[in-house]
Symmetry: C2
DNA sequence: CTCTAACCTGAACATGAACTCCGGTTCCGA
DNA sequence: TCGGAACCGGAGTTCATGTTCAGGTTAGAG
């Protein structure tokens, strides 16, 4: 889909990168609400060039999102290295959410009601899910996460936090409430 | 905004209701992604008629959302009647979220990045916030919610849950995790 | 250096959806 | 019953944005 890295003329390869860079920045800022003309201008190219490299807007967005997910997988892999199960979990959780905060396109992909969901695509292209599952299991086994905590709950939590990223940065408090529970002493 | 109930010709009042009914149903189903033509057809009217009653799509949506918020305020008022502070809180929370689940337009209004936020408009038109604040305070005072729980946290929680309403009905689990916390025994 | 396939440009086009407009219709007071 | 103000219908207008393509430019093999 984004593949043809080899056998591109030098200028073509250069322009392709420029498009990706411009699109990444703009999508990250304003999510889906960016015009192709705008991306072209930012990249210092004509619109036609965008379409030489990407079939349509959707494909361009997919390329950007794909990159983010690869970065996300790398992050997860790194988090899994931690000896302490809880540290691994926290690193993954906050790393994931900080990326989401910095990138509206990423949030858009994860929160949007797309069909088929990006989550599914990711499951087929990266092993992010598998790594996450392992990290979660370790934290559960160490007694740091409740017994019935599943990898699906990680998705639940992150979606919840991401929904609180517009406006003030309330998502950290949301995560804190989740970690500690909202109950009081008399519960 | 939605005001002129009196001094409308009989057919006009009837049609106005038809428009509101059709719009409410469609918006509830598919949120913002509904065409004016579609609403007109569903109401058995021409598009022109929609525009006779509402300045634009935004105004129509606002009227619908406004109604939902009034219903929400009534719900909150009813919940506040409960003698048990916790029962009041739970009634409000689940009532609110069940409404959100049934109405995509409502979710759209609450989750969207609109400017100014619907939340602000609501604060000026209804006393939903005040009632919620009272319910929250009672639950805190009774020791059923953590001491530092604020009304803002109610918003945080509901936004989080609403973000998990697409696809499977995972929002109930999200709320449960929030209520109990995700920590394990060794935390 | 030359030649051509690959590449680039951006004005023009296509599409879709909000909104307008005015001839025709309906309500309702007198 | 009648007159006219209020109202309605829906084809047509406008505007925004994604996409194309004919014509000019450039990389790079020979």
């Amino acid at each position: 889909m984004t593949a043809p890295e080899r056998s591109l003329r030098a200028d073509a390869r250069r322009n392709r990168e420029a498009v990706l860079a411009a699109a990444a920045e703009l999508f990250a800022q304003r999510g889906d609400a960016v015009q192709m003309d705008e991306i072209a201008e930012r990249a210092g190219l004509g619109v036609g060039t965008l379409y030489r490299h990407f079939a349509d807007k959707q494909a361009l967005l997919a390329a950007i999102i794909g990159r983010r997910f690869e970065a996300m997988t790398a992050l997860a892999r790194a988090a899994a290295e931690a000896e302490d199960p809880w540290e691994a979990f926290e690193t993954l959780l906050y790393g994931y959410l900080e990326s989401a905060q910095a990138d509206a396109a990423f949030r858009f992909a994860l929160l949007g009601p797309e069909e088929p969901s990006w989550n599914d695509i990711v499951a087929e292209k990266t092993d992010f899910s598998a790594i996450t599952e392992r990290i979660v299991r370790r934290a559960v086994d160490a007694g740091r996460l409740r017994d019935d905590f599943r990898a699906d709950d990680f998705v639940l939590i992150t979606r919840g936090a991401m929904a609180n990223m517009t406006g003030a940065g309330g998502w950290r408090r949301h995560v804190m409430l989740l970690l500690e529970g909202i109950g009081g002493p008399e519960r």
